[in-house]
Assembly symmetry: C2
Homo-oligomer: 467 residues x 2
């Protein structure tokens, strides 16, 4: 990375970190970073495109295009006579960066009337009464030490039930002793990254589409995430590099494709040949509609693949419960980091979830919500076919979101939707290196809205897409 000098123009001193020759995508990314990190606070006036272009030694059109995109995305505002400003937190930085509303600043986020970004299940499906019933069984039955400082791997009751469930439902080769209960998937990734760095890793391959939050987590622990191309067969596992790779084999986020069989094999071979670790992010493996779920990659080589799963999609993100199934050689180092991170994950909900799984309610809940989301998906697909025939729908066979190729400028549609109270996101928003010209597509999460607003959300979406 080369840091070009400050360019002090009409507005802010703008320190941009640009690598190599700055194209539009580079510039967009650098501005994103500056706004997200708070280096450019809301209300900051940016230099004119002419002035910034001169400072950076690039074409004025490149700057103007980048500004235009950021205006469309809501990061900047352009007002006649007052130039280009960093937007007031109409849509706070973090909200854009992580549509799962997974970030500081989230609490400043204005509520959109409708939310069709992916990342959150329908929170109204959380089985409050069944959960309370499980708690009424689990808490009185628990030994006293369940309330104390206990096994840093988590409660044995939950690890045993999970081992059984994961083997049955996801084909995971799981031993309760190799399971670590984490405080959410972000923590799992955090712990793993830290251990890999301690062991000498410097680079982690990531799919070129995904959540920027995850890349931030990897960076925060000192590894460099490196994007690997993804196509209709999933990630190009022949191009993996570094000492680890983070993959979504069952259902690529956000393209929605499963990793093709030969690429699964290739990924594991790469890990063996390179002495590398694969991290399998099985965030919504339960939700497959058209055929049997794609089994966990982990089963191909449990000593090379760390399986990670979560209750965030199947039950509720607020539980902050996730689990890793670890290779033997990573167990002790990961536990050592867990110790200085938060000692162990809270135990009461672990006891309840163990009971909830053991009683069969978890399986029933997954089946019930799978039907629920499948109906929503069918409704969305039918409606789009009827009202927005120019749109191509992909990634429909699983998960809680679809990919829409749209006949028009995707960023422009997002901006219009937001002005009308509908939060959606472009595919480009999930791209490691933004490149808005490459593919005009939207990622639409149909899991998030509660039932009473789902039809309204779809109606507005169709209006935007039909234009």
């Amino acid at each position: 990375m080369e840091e070009r000098g400050a360019n002090s123009a009409a507005g802010a001193d703008l320190h941009l970190e640009l690598s190599g020759t700055a194209g539009r995508a580079e510039l967009v990314r650098a501005l994103h970073d500056s706004i997200r990190s708070g280096r450019l606070p809301a209300g900051t006036r940016l230099p004119s495109s002419r002035s910034l272009a001169k400072d950076l030694g690039i074409a004025r059109n490149t700057v103007a295009d980048a500004y235009g995109q950021l205006v469309a995305e809501g990061w900047l505002t352009a007002r006649q006579g007052s130039g280009t400003l960093v937007a007031e937190r109409v849509l706070p930085a973090a909200g854009v960066a992580t549509p799962g509303r997974e970030a500081p600043g989230t609490f400043d986020r204005p509520s959109y009337r409708y939310d069709l970004t992916p990342g959150s299940p329908d929170l109204s499906t959380f089985p409050r009464n069944e959960w309370l019933a499980a708690a009424r069984k689990a808490l009185p039955a628990a030994p006293n030490d369940a309330f104390g400082y206990g096994d840093p791997r988590g409660r044995i009751e939950l690890r045993e039930n999970l081992a059984d469930y994961l083997a049955r439902a996801r084909g995971v080769r799981a031993d309760p002793d190799r399971i670590l209960i984490c405080s959410g998937y972000v923590q799992a990734l955090n712990l793993l990254t830290d251990v890999l760095r301690q062991q000498g890793a410097t680079t982690m391959s990531v799919e070129e589409f995904g959540y920027s939050l995850h890349w931030d987590v990897i960076r925060s622990r000192g590894l460099q995430p490196t994007p690997v191309p993804v196509d209709e067969y999933g990630v190009r596992s022949d191009l993996l590099q570094g000492q680890a790779a983070l993959l979504t084999p069952a259902h690529q986020m956000p393209l929605g494709v499963p990793l093709a069989p030969d690429r699964r094999t290739r990924a594991v071979e790469w890990a063996r040949d390179s002495d590398a670790i694969l991290i399998e992010d099985d965030y919504d493996g339960e939700f497959r509609y058209d055929r049997q779920s794609v089994g966990a990659l982990q089963a191909l080589d449990p000593e090379r693949v760390v399986y990670t799963g979560t209750a965030s999609k199947s039950l509720a993100p607020g539980l902050r419960l996730a689990w890793m199934v670890l290779p033997e050689h990573l167990m002790e180092p990961v536990l050592a980091v867990k110790r200085t991170t938060d000692l162990l994950t809270a135990t009461l909900d672990q006891l309840v979830l163990a009971e909830y799984i053991a009683s069969g309610h978890y399986d029933r809940h997954v089946r019930r919500t799978r039907q629920h989301y499948r109906r929503r998906r069918d409704h969305l697909v039918e409606l789009l076919a009827a009202r927005a025939p120019g749109v191509t729908v992909a990634g429909i066979s699983a998960g809680l979101h679809v990919l829409l190729d749209v006949p028009g400028d995707a960023a422009d549609m997002v901006a219009r939707a937001r002005r009308q109270g509908l939060l959606i996101a472009t595919l480009d928003h999930y791209r490691f290196t933004p490149n808005p010209a490459e593919r005009q597509a939207l990622v639409v999460g149909y899991g998030t809205p509660p039932d009473h607003s789902y039809n309204g959300a779809l109606d507005l979406l169709c209006q935007i897409l039909a234009v």
Copy 2:
């Protein structure tokens, strides 16, 4: 730090990191570290004292003394004819390192019949039925978004009730907007340390007595903990150094004294003069028996002092719920780290605790358990006076542990107690730089045992101390 070369003697290759001239204390610490970290696994044969002394260029007696101490503490075993070995995990490393049983390896820990180490409350006091009743009120009443990715500071219901409680019970100047709910105190310390390091800090003053786990957390995030002497008036706040200090002002752990008024003032002045941050660890501020609790140091300067509190002693460690009250300028940086650490703390127990506080049950529970622990303390003090008159008891006015100055070798008493099934710890065990000769004292936690074994534990303790 200088790393002296490997010394390959009769037994293991022994890589010891020794700083400066190695005395007995240095050597004991280096061996502790090697065993704790797993570099010296159980069963490893150590070089003879003669051989190691030669390799390190120190007196043979120094090595022999260090070995002797570690044998007494249960880290090593010495057998006629087979030399000195790292002990099988009769008492696993982590159990000794962090008597709150707060470490990986904990799950290997054999159960002692009696446990009088400090750090855990009596787990049988956890109010299971009241907690379930609060859950039955709180969960159905919660909005849907309580189950989602929400405010990274934690649920507003809990922050509001805590702000009120902390002001009332602990004299904290608390605003719900400045409270961050954490996944336990270890996480609070982890987040703070990381932010301070990002802001350029290199050194954090710590009290010379405390938990090694906390020092490990500080180190894990790249700061150097630096011990500051503690006497009968608390920490020598005229000797604070670095860019931050971690203090237990209400009740020094483990000496049991409150920080004297002039030293409180001095600490805050130091923070102002040095542009430093004080971290107030108010781990058991609720438990004061003889007079009004000592109010929080934070009230003296909320922009310089981070207040941290926890439900681990007042309710249960398994809840993993702690809270920080942050200066305004630290709020955003700490939230940014929280985001890549675990996004937010699990929300369900937050809702329940909010209801538990709001209904008045929390206050009643604290009063009830305060009486419970007070009776235990009284019983302990009376028994010792009668059966072990050579013992001097200190630190009795608050908390869940006392300090016993004993007429004999403290490490020897601990070893004898453990052989008889009673887990206790020396004061020296809590010392930053072990120095077993300086003061023969034990730290006895009377909070941990359940009622049915408390009398048995005290009986065994008196037998050990009376000899």
